[in-house]
């Protein structure tokens, strides 16, 4: 029987298991509403290193080591690593894991990377190509600002539609044995570009991609929005979520309380001045690994559709006047 369903979805024959998950975040995230769910909060943005970029790699290294440790396996038991981040050439990940000496696939899906890495990892396990894989993604507020926007010391104002890049990393060990939630389906996103150019309003740029992949997931699987306890997009923020609701309504799907966004959950926008919400690879990664995976394991929720969202522009494409293409990947995670 083919594992492919419809146009974009895969149904796994032997749903891979999320054996362990680890999340390490920065100070601001550690002061947010999800503080208690993270494995570790690091107050120093440099984490003892001498640059933010090196600190970002340390987040990758430490989170992945912790995920391996929590799975009660050894590094050599991991067959592949799938990881990515926002830095040029994925340096956050590569420098983070270079000493692990595990076969590595470097990914770039911008802030959707956690969805991409979990999708590919689950495919590798279900396909019988691996027993255990390590999937992760992360970002660092300071290095992201430095690369994409302005130096942090510059006195500029952020528009109300702007989001705040999460400093943090999330990693999961996905295996074919053990206990934990199962990845039952994945729906891989297509690139959507609705002509938004405003890099200060990423939620608007990414909402169409989230809408496309969520609608495709329902179509391919025959499921309805209320099948899931929670449908969590990656980093659309408040504005993006409002837009996504409207777009999905136009497609004939009404989503209410069960539609949320990791960027909305991770910060308290009134107290933390984060405007539209959190963003970055680390947003969906740390929120899932810290918060949602815990809720699933404690039986608070049973069925989650995680939809990390990513904006695929670069500083060069923006300067050349291109609009912002976006992508989203849906991962269905269920506990029996």
């Amino acid at each position: 029987m083919s594992k492919k369903m419809g146009n974009q979805t895969i149904r796994f024959a032997n749903p891979p298991i999320i054996v362990s998950a680890a999340a390490i975040v920065g100070k601001k995230e550690g002061e947010g509403p999800l503080a208690d769910f993270f494995d570790k909060v690091v107050d120093d943005p440099n984490w003892g290193e001498d640059s933010w970029e090196k600190a970002e790699s340390k987040f990758v290294r430490e989170t992945m080591a912790l995920a391996i440790n929590k799975a009660s396996i050894k590094t050599k038991d991991i067959d592949y690593v799938f990881s990515g981040d926002l830095l040029n050439q994925c340096c956050g990940s590569t420098f983070g894991i270079k000493d692990f000496k595990i076969p590595f696939f470097g990914l770039f899906g911008a802030c959707s990377t956690m969805g991409e890495s979990m999708s590919l990892g689950a495919m590798a396990v279900d396909g019988g190509f691996a027993t255990n894989v390590l999937c992760g993604a992360g970002s660092h507020f300071c290095s992201a600002e430095k690369q994409f926007r302005f130096p942090l010391g510059m006195g500029t104002q952020r528009p109300p539609s702007a989001t705040w890049t999460v400093t943090g990393n999330g990693a999961v060990v996905i295996g074919n044995q053990g206990t934990g939630a199962k990845i039952t389906h994945i729906t891989t996103g297509k690139i959507m570009d609705m002509g938004i150019k405003d890099a200060g309003n990423m939620g608007a740029a990414m909402a169409p991609a989230a809408c496309q992949v969520i609608a495709a997931h329902f179509q391919d699987t025959g499921r309805h929005p209320d099948y899931y306890d929670v449908i969590a997009t990656g980093d659309l923020g408040y504005i993006g979520r409002t837009i996504l609701r409207k777009l999905l309504k136009d497609e004939g799907y009404i989503l209410n309380e069960n539609l949320t966004d990791c960027g909305i959950e991770i910060f308290d926008r009134d107290k933390q001045d984060t405007h539209s919400g959190g963003s970055g690879c680390g947003c969906a990664a740390a929120t899932f690994c810290g918060y949602y995976n815990t809720l699933i394991n404690y039986g608070k929720i049973k069925k989650l559709l995680l939809v990390p969202t990513g904006a695929l522009m670069s500083t060069t494409s923006s300067q050349q006047g291109e609009s912002i293409p976006a992508i989203a990947h849906a991962v269905a995670i269920e506990m029996e």
Partner: protein, 118 residues
């Protein structure tokens, strides 16, 4: 009275900048470029001098004042040395300001390390 004039003139110039930020989505860097060129053009037309006479530091401290210095400098050099003054006047007049900024930027890089925020 001079203080009130400086406050009002300087305030209005900044207010125009703020409207540009919020209404046009121009980045602050682009607005600085526009302001310096605008100050230079108004200086060249002889209009900015009136604003400086009225507003004092209110007109010279904003970046339009930097543009005004460039235009005054270039006119002065053209008067003094003729055609080649077109090339030397602007930079001569602004040399002090630019060098001071380079000095302090260099010094800060020696003294301080980058800081996070939030």
């Amino acid at each position: 009275m001079d203080y009130i004039k400086a406050f009002i003139v300087g305030g209005i110039i900044c207010l125009i900048g703020q409207i540009l930020v919020d209404k046009t989505k121009l980045t602050s860097g682009r607005i600085l470029v526009i302001f310096v060129s605008l100050g230079c053009i108004l200086g060249g037309l002889g209009l900015y001098k009136n604003i400086v006479d009225f507003g004092g530091a209110g007109a010279t401290v904003p970046l339009t004042g930097f543009g005004y210095v460039l235009s005054e400098g270039v006119k002065e050099e053209v008067d003094k040395i003729g055609f080649l003054g077109i090339f030397t006047g602007g930079l001569k007049a602004s040399a002090g300001g630019i060098s001071v900024a380079v000095f302090f930027a260099f010094l800060s890089a020696l003294l301080f390390n980058p800081k996070s925020k939030g």
